[in-house]
Structure formats: structure tokens, C-alpha cells
């Protein structure tokens, strides 16, 4: 493995007016992260570390029941604890924020519960104290009484609408396809997305074979190592939030809305994040600390212990009923998808997951007749939101398991079956949008070649059997969304970039600096990337869904280009002949007679988009780019214990042209590792709505011993023609196929098919024993 090159300290940027001196290409460099030194020395800034003078700590008191009316909250014992400053409940919040409900899709989530609780762990009160230990002790003394109501936990039960989580739906008004749900009563369905192409029923009737399967996924969560943390500092007519957020612009807009303030009185500052993975989007603790600081008139910090992270946001569990018709040549002619997303008690971004991922539920396959119904459902579980893939890893688990099951039943090799059915370059996705710059075939063939798929494979004979599997998938990027960037060239020629993309470990600061460096012909290391601060950094929709490198990358490129052009016109204005070797500093000196002035370039990017037709979901332009990945997996299954060892995991991705190849590779391996945990063992266990393994002691995540012996992370030669320098997003792409490739390998090894995650020893052993007609008893 070649190590990244450490460049010598750059000389001051020397950018001539015309015919500039080349610094060398910045795009395509495996430059170490700009903040690398701060991170290895422990000096990188995180909200976790921040303390303000006079700051109070808040400890959240949470609901102990899943659904019920609050009869009373008795805080007298807590208030009597020496050192307690105040105990705050929902009724106190209403006094400072009269309508304290927030959310990106629905305004359904209260800052603190009002009247009712909707899940175990919902915040009902907060104890404030100068000493966090005092707040923690006192919080245990707050006593709430409830009138319990029936609860619904399962997404299929929720779809029956027998137990209702909310009395009335409250869409935020932001999204056109949610408007029809305003004020609707008697339902748990927070979005019913539909795609209709061709006539599936007719095609099923004419098909040579019809297959129907149901798959499920479990509840898992992000577990970023910097747990949720926010600080609010309310100063009467100004509010400053310091928060570990992936979306500072959204936070500002939503908090300003809650307060009825203009945006410019709310300032949101975000240093580095200790992990995000989709968990730190939208509003998490920001509205709560805002209300607390308004009430206490002091800065307030709420920093969750890991246990409470389990009650904040999770990934969507899902049930996917998939039915396919296949003709006599092994071509899929029709597919019906019914997807039920378990969104928990508050919608968060669930309705967008249901739609934006829902429309890819039929996979990277060229199918004449497609019908998709994707339902976002409320249940009495902790809320679910975005997690590295926005629902796609759950969908792919289902459709790529289904693909193999059909291939096996038809006695067609799983690779060959995919070859017959994939959408090739220039073909159309089920929405009608062309699949351009989407290397589906290339990725599939790369996986096949690297797995030596055409060669015989030793499956073993003893208690340990071996198997191999593969999978392939696509995802669209959330669209349409906007990014804005500003590039500021200072009087000495040094350059500053203002962009709101949050660096949570994905290396965005570095990639954006490389784009600036490429355009302005300066070393990326010399670019100062200003940490996110909404008083300074312009609007960005959010760091999510692999959108930043593409959208913000374009905005940054445009801002740098504008600055470059302004430098050139300044040179012309000063009458410098073409090819003269003036540095930028010289230009400023000549213009202002001293080291003074700035050149500011701004860039905005919003891709073209055509909204899907209501009812059919069809559109010629649903996404500006496609993400494509494939996985090949080899496993060993111990037939006596059910233990599965992943001996080889090959991740192959189309990421366009990598701006920083080394960082891209670590994104691929990191995403695959995370998905390996979600595949093999991660699962939140529940009892009556209560998480029974809410700690890292009981909820295991991948460690060094879980890494496959052979772990290969590769990309295919690709170029995203509408992307910045041919690049596109890479954060999620390697999560898609891990689960089904391993599930398919297990089936290949021992002939059992698991339809629910995780693929833990108990599940495998149960399936093996059921196959042998000696099932294990239920625990």
C-alpha cells in the first residue's frame, strides 16, 4: 500500500495574473486530512469539549412508558437537591416557545412532551445544575405518572391503523407530496409513495415463474462516538448554538422558525464532529437547549451519555414484500414492491426515506412492469431517521436476497441471472430517468472477475462449510438540494474557503480545499477552510446522503472560478500584459498601494430536477447522479454452532473520479465495516418499548476482530460527467450490498435462507435446525 505523500510546507501562493505558474494538480492527490495533526494530538475541536462561563448542565428525564397521557410530573424532590438550579417541563417550554414542535417533514416532535408521551425514552423534563453530577442525581427523583394507552411497535401492525400514535398529522409544508396529509386523522401512515410503470398484474399472469418473498431488517443505530451534544447561549435578542450537527443551516432555519425570529439573529457554530453517519441531522438537542437557555437565562449544555443515544434516533427497521415475474429466458418481466418503514414516534426524515429510497426498491434491474408502494409509518418506538444509505441498505438486503433466491430456484447461476437483468449504461431506471454514468455492468463484472466466479469453489465437507455470494445495487442522491460557497482571496494571495459542509470524518474540508487549489493553482494545504458558522459560512442544505462532494463541490468550484476570473480582470484593469508574472499579492499592492483588499468569489449549485408525477412516480430526471456498488463475500459457516465467519469481503464501487483517492478508500472500507456490524450482530432489543441493550456493553459494534481476513476495497474506472472534476459522493455507497452478499454466501454454504437481519449464530443455527426438521425451541 503506498503511503500518502506528505508535501513539504507550501511556499506562499504565487499566482500570476495570466499564464500562471503551475502548482501541479490538486484534484486526485491523496493529501492527508488538513486537520490531521490536530486529530492525532487530541487538539481537534469538538462541541463535546466546549464550556462557557456560567454554563448550566441539563440532565434529561425520560418517559418510562411507550404511549400514554401524562397525569403529573412531580419535581419537588429533585428541586430540593442542593445545587439544582431549575427543573423544566413541557409547560415551561410553552411559555417561551408557544408552539414548540419541530421536524424536517412534520412539525410533530415537541421539545419536551406535552400532554402525551409516544415512546419509552421521550424527554419529559430536564434538571439544570452547575454540576452535571447534581443534575444527574436529581433527575432520578423526578416522578411522572401516566395513564397508559395501547402501543404499537411493529410496522405491519401500525399499517392496520388500529392503535394510533398521533391524533392528527402535521406536515411541515416544506414538501409538496406531504401536503395532502395535513390534518388527516385516524392513520399512522406519514407518507404513501407510489411508483407505477407498465402493468404488473398482467405481466405476473403471463410470467413463466412468479416468486414472492418477505424480508425484514432490525433496529440499529449510528452510535457516533461523540454522543449528541448541544449548547445554547441565549442573549435576549441573539442566540448562539454550539452543536454537533450535520446541518447547521437547517438548525438555524428551524430554530428561527420556532422563535419567530429572522435567521440572522440565530448563529449556529459547528466544529468537527466525532462521527455523524446521518444521526446528527435536523433538530436533535438544539431546540431543547434553546428553550432551556431562554428559561434559565444562562448558557445550557446538554451532552447525552451513550445510553440515551439509543433513545434519540435510529435507523428504520423495515418489512419488504417483493414479488417478481420471470419469463422462460430468465428475464424479470414484472416486480411489485411493498415497503413498510418503521419510523418510530416522530417522523424526522422518515417520509423522505420512504420516497427517495423507495423509488429504487426495484433495484438496478431493467424491468418492464414495476409497481412500488413505500409507506412511512409511525410506531411507539424511538424515532428513526437517516443512517448512511437513507434506507437503501435495507432495500438492497431484500431485493438482492430475492434475486439469488430466484436464480437458485431457476437453476441459473446468480451472476448470470444478474447479467441477464441489469440495466446497462444508457438504459432507464424504473422512474424513467436514464441510468447515466452508473457503472452497474462494470461493477458486476469487476466483482465477478475478482471473485474468480467462473472457477470451481471449495465448499468443504465437514462441520464447517464454505460459500460465496454477491450483490449489486444503486442509489439516487436526494434531490433537488442547494449549496453555496464563498472563496476569499486575501491581499497577500492567501485563500480562505467558507463552506457549510460539516467535516465529520469524511474529509470534506480537505476535498473542498483541493478543489479550490485546483482552480486557483495553489496547494490545497494553503487553503484555510473556515469551520462552520452560520454567521459566516453560507447556506448548505446539509451534510447528508453523499451529496456534499457533488453539490458543495460544484459550489466551491464555481466560487473559486469567480475569484480566479476577478483576479484576471483586476490584472487587465491594471493594464498588465498577458503572461506577466505578477503574483496576486503584487496585484493588490498595485491596486491599493499597500497590502489591502479582498477578492471574493461566490458559487451556488442546485441541480436540475423534474418532480415525479403524482401517482406514477415517473420522471425523466430524478437525480443528478447515481451511486453504484457491488460486493463479493466468502464465508465459513459452522453447522454445529451457526457461527458465520466472513473470510473475504470485496467492496467494489463506482465513485466517479476520486478527488482524494486515499480518503475515498477509507470511506469505502469504513462504510462496509459499519454495514458488516448491521449485518452480523448489531440489533436493538426491545421489551415493551424499552431498549434492553442500551449500552456499548450489550450492543456490540465491529472491532478489530470482526474485520474479515481478506478485506478488499476497490473502485472501477469511472467519470461522472456532470460532477465536479468527474467526482461524485462516496460516503454511503459501500454500505448497500454487504448484507445480501453475506446472506447469499450463507445460503451457498449450507442451503439455508435467512430473511431477517442480523445473521447472528442463533438465527443461522435456527435455520439449520429447521431445515433438518429438528427446530430449536423458542427461548
Amino acid at each position: 500500500m503506498p503511503s500518502a505523500t506528505m508535501n513539504p510546507t507550501p511556499s506562499p501562493p504565487a499566482l500570476a495574473a495570466e499564464g500562471r505558474v503551475a502548482t501541479g494538480p490538486q484534484v486526485g492527490r491523496s493529501l492527508p486530512r488538513l486537520e490531521a495533526r490536530e486529530k492525532v494530538t487530541g487538539r481537534a475541536e469538538y462541541t463535546h469539549n466546549l464550556r462557557l462561563p456560567g454554563m448550566l448542565y441539563g440532565k434529561v428525564v425520560r418517559s418510562t412508558i411507550a404511549h400514554g397521557r401524562i397525569r403529573s410530573i412531580d419535581a419537588s424532590a429533585a428541586k430540593a437537591v442542593p445545587g439544582v438550579y431549575q427543573v423544566v417541563a413541557g409547560e415551561d417550554v410553552i411559555k417561551v416557545i408557544p408552539h414548540p414542535y419541530y421536524g424536517p417533514a412534520f412539525h410533530d416532535q415537541p421539545i419536551l412532551a406535552i400532554g402525551k408521551v409516544h415512546y419509552v425514552g421521550e424527554p419529559i423534563a430536564v434538571v439544570l445544575a452547575e454540576d452535571p453530577h447534581v443534575a444527574e442525581t436529581a433527575a432520578t427523583l423526578v416522578v411522572a405518572e401516566y395513564e397508559e394507552l395501547p402501543a404499537v411497535y411493529d410496522e405491519l401492525e401500525a399499517a392496520q391503523n388500529r392503535v394510533l400514535v398521533h391524533d392528527e398529522l402535521k406536515p411541515a409544508g416544506t414538501f409538496a407530496d406531504l401536503k395532502h396529509l395535513k390534518g388527516v386523522r385516524g392513520t399512522n401512515i406519514a407518507l404513501d409513495y407510489q411508483l407505477r410503470k407498465g402493468d404488473v398484474e398482467k405481466a405476473f399472469a403471463e410470467a413463466a415463474h412468479v416468486f414472492e418473498h418477505e424480508f425484514r431488517t432490525q433496529k440499529v443505530l449510528h452510535l457516533a462516538f461523540e454522543p449528541f451534544v448541544s449548547i445554547a447561549d441565549y442573549k435576549g435578542d441573539r442566540l448562539t448554538l454550539y452543536t454537533a450537527s450535520q446541518g447547521p443551516s437547517f438548525v438555524r432555519i428551524e430554530i428561527a422558525r420556532l422563535l419567530g425570529w429572522p435567521e440572522n439573529r440565530v448563529r449556529v457554530k459547528v466544529p468537527f464532529l466525532g462521527g455523524g453517519y446521518g444521526g446528527k441531522l435536523y433538530i436533535k438537542l438544539e431546540a431543547l437547549v434553546t428553550a432551556l437557555s431562554m428559561i434559565a437565562k444562562r448558557p445550557v449544555k446538554v451532552s447525552l451519555p451513550m445510553e440515551e443515544v439509543f433513545y434519540t434516533i435510529t435507523r428504520h427497521p423495515m418489512t419488504f414484500r417483493i414479488k417478481s415475474g420471470v419469463d422462460e429466458h430468465g428475464r424479470i418481466t414484472a416486480r411489485r414492491c411493498e415497503v413498510f418503514w418503521n419510523g418510530g414516534a416522530y417522523a424526522d426524515i422518515g417520509p423522505r426515506v420512504a420516497q427517495k429510497s423507495g423509488f429504487t426498491a426495484s433495484g438496478p434491474y431493467d424491468i418492464e412492469n414495476v409497481s412500488i408502494d413505500s409507506y412511512a409509518l409511525y410506531t411507539n418506538q424511538p424515532p428513526a431517521g437517516a443512517l448512511r444509505g437513507f434506507g437503501v441498505p435495507q432495500l438492497v438486503w431484500a431485493y438482492e436476497s430475492h434475486t439469488d433466491m430466484m436464480a437458485r430456484a431457476l437453476r441459473i447461476d446468480p451472476l448470470e441471472f444478474r447479467r441477464r437483468n441489469i440495466t446497462r449504461e444508457g438504459g432507464r431506471h424504473a422512474t424513467g430517468t436514464p441510468l447515466e454514468d452508473a457503472a452497474v455492468e462494470k461493477v458486476l463484472e469487476h466483482v465477478a472477475a475478482r471473485m474468480n466466479w467462473s472457477k470451481p469453489f471449495d465448499r468443504g465437507t465437514g462441520a464447517v462449510r464454505r460459500g460465496r455470494g454477491l450483490a449489486i445495487a444503486i442509489k439516487a442522491v436526494i434531490s433537488p438540494t442547494t449549496s453555496v460557497a464563498i472563496v476569499n482571496v486575501n491581499a497577500d494571495g492567501s485563500t480562505t474557503l467558507y463552506c457549510g459542509t460539516v467535516d465529520m470524518g469524511q474529509g470534506s474540508d480537505t476535498a473542498m480545499a483541493q478543489i479550490v487549489g485546483e482552480i486557483l493553482n495553489i496547494p490545497a494545504e494553503s487553503v484555510n477552510v473556515v469551520p462552520r458558522d452560520t454567521d459566516v459560512t453560507p447556506y448548505d442544505m446539509g451534510t447528508l446522503g453523499s451529496r456534499s462532494l457533488f453539490h458543495m463541490g460544484h459550489a466551491v468550484k464555481r466560487a473559486a472560478e469567480e475569484a480566479r476570473d476577478k483576479i484576471a480582470s483586476l490584472a487587465r484593469e491594471l493594464g498588465l500584459p498577458k503572461g506577466s508574472n505578477y503574483s496576486v499579492a503584487d496585484l493588490f499592492q498595485k491596486k491599493y498601494g499597500m497590502q489591502a483588499g479582498n477578492i471574493v468569489g461566490a458559487g451556488v449549485y442546485k441541480p436540475d430536477y423534474v418532480p415525479p408525477q403524482p401517482g406514477t412516480g415517473l420522471t425523466p430526471n430524478v437525480t443528478p447522479f447515481w451511486m453504484v456498488s457491488g460486493v463479493g463475500a466468502e464465508v465459513e459457516v459452522d453447522t454445529e454452532t451457526g457461527h458465520v465467519r466472513v473470510t473475504r469481503l470485496l467492496n467494489v464501487c463506482d465513485i466517479g473520479r476520486p478527488i482524494n483517492p486515499k480518503i475515498c478508500e477509507s470511506q469505502i472500507s469504513g462504510a462496509a465495516t459499519m454495514q458488516l456490524g448491521f449485518t452480523m450482530f448489531e440489533k436493538m432489543h426491545f421489551d415493551g418499548g424499552q431498549v434492553t441493550n442500551a449500552s456499548l456493553a450489550d450492543y456490540k459494534i465491529p472491532g478489530f476482530h470482526d474485520l474479515p481476513a481478506a478485506f478488499e476495497n476497490e473502485t472501477v474506472e469511472a467519470y461522472q460527467s456532470n460532477g465536479p472534476f468527474g467526482g461524485k459522493g462516496v460516503g454511503e455507497v459501500a454500505t448497500f450490498c454487504v448484507s445480501p452478499a453475506i446472506g447469499n454466501a450463507i445460503d451457498d454454504a449450507v442451503g439455508v435462507r435467512l430473511t431477517e437481519l442480523p445473521l447472528n449464530p442463533e438465527a443461522v443455527l435456527r435455520a439449520l435446525r429447521a431445515k433438518e426438521n429438528r427446530p430449536l425451541e423458542d427461548a
Partner: protein
């Protein structure tokens, strides 16, 4: 409130003292009293390694280690490694191999790798995996960390040979 007591210890080579309550962890003391933020609380159970501190030459979970036990001890944090503005070979290797993403767990890993290489100057893959199994990285930078350990081992051997 609980009675405070004074403890004295060396922190990154300097003699210091702090007023502590019996329930204070050593992690809280180094962060709150001495503004050393390289060690962080994450899982709060001594399982992730983010809070790693060195007490009398051994790595401990700072979130579980009661400050009272550090009375008279020698405590070191990640901030001791680049005191003269020169990085430790382990830190250099982590940068060169890109052995981190968000960086939250990184100081704990760096300290554990340093201790690993003190005990085993030339560890193989199995040794590295075993030794670092008590440190978790949610970003999954394990392959890069593995490469960084080997690179750091080479750097240390080279500088010894020189």
C-alpha cells in the same frame, strides 16, 4: 454536598494538585481542571478506549478510573506526546496512513499503539488485532490503523538503529 479532598500527582511530567470529590473520574479531572481534551468520554463503560489515559505507565479507562486513585501517581495524556512540537512516530504514522476519520477515538488508539510497540517492537497482525481489541472506531479505520502500527514500528526501529 460531598466533601472535597486534595490529590497530588504528576500530569505530563509536572507536579499538580486538584480538589476532587470521591465520585470524580480521572477523566473529568484532566478535562475540567486542566483543560486537556484529548481524552474523551464516549461509552462511559471503559469499552471504547476514547478516554484512555496512562497512569504509572499503564493504559487505563479514564472514565472509570477514580481520580482518588491517582493520588501520588504519574499521569500522562495524549498531550504529552508532542510536548516539544515534535510528533511521536505513532502520530506521524497515523497521519501518513490516514488512520482515522472523525478523530474522536484517535488519541486513545495512539496511546495504546505506543504501549503496544513498547512491549512488542515488531508485532504481527494477530498481535495488533488482539492488543487493540479494547479500542473501537465507529468510522471503521481499522485497516489504516493496522498499516499505521506497522509503519510506526518501522519508524521506531529505524530511529533506534540510527
Amino acid at each position: 454536598m460531598t466533601a472535597l479532598r486534595t490529590i497530588s500527582f504528576t500530569l505530563n511530567g509536572k507536579q499538580v494538585s486538584a480538589q476532587i470529590a470521591p465520585h470524580h473520574s480521572l477523566l473529568e479531572v484532566v478535562r475540567n481542571d486542566f483543560s486537556l481534551y484529548g481524552a474523551r468520554e464516549s461509552c462511559g463503560q471503559g469499552l471504547c478506549g476514547c478516554c484512555t489515559l496512562i497512569v504509572d505507565g499503564r493504559a487505563v479507562s479514564g472514565c472509570l478510573y477514580l481520580a482518588a486513585f491517582a493520588d501520588g501517581a504519574a499521569v500522562e495524556t495524549i498531550e504529552s506526546l508532542d510536548r516539544d512540537n515534535v510528533l511521536d512516530p505513532v502520530q506521524e504514522a497515523f497521519i501518513e496512513e490516514g488512520a482515522f476519520q472523525c478523530g474522536f477515538c484517535t488519541p486513545g488508539f495512539v496511546l495504546m499503539v505506543k504501549q503496544l510497540l513498547d512491549e512488542h517492537p515488531d508485532p504481527d497482525d494477530d498481535r495488533i488485532r488482539d492488543y487493540l481489541s479494547g479500542n473501537l472506531c465507529r468510522c471503521g479505520a481499522y485497516p489504516e490503523i493496522l498499516r499505521a502500527v506497522k509503519s510506526a514500528a518501522r519508524k521506531r526501529r529505524a530511529s533506534k538503529a540510527a
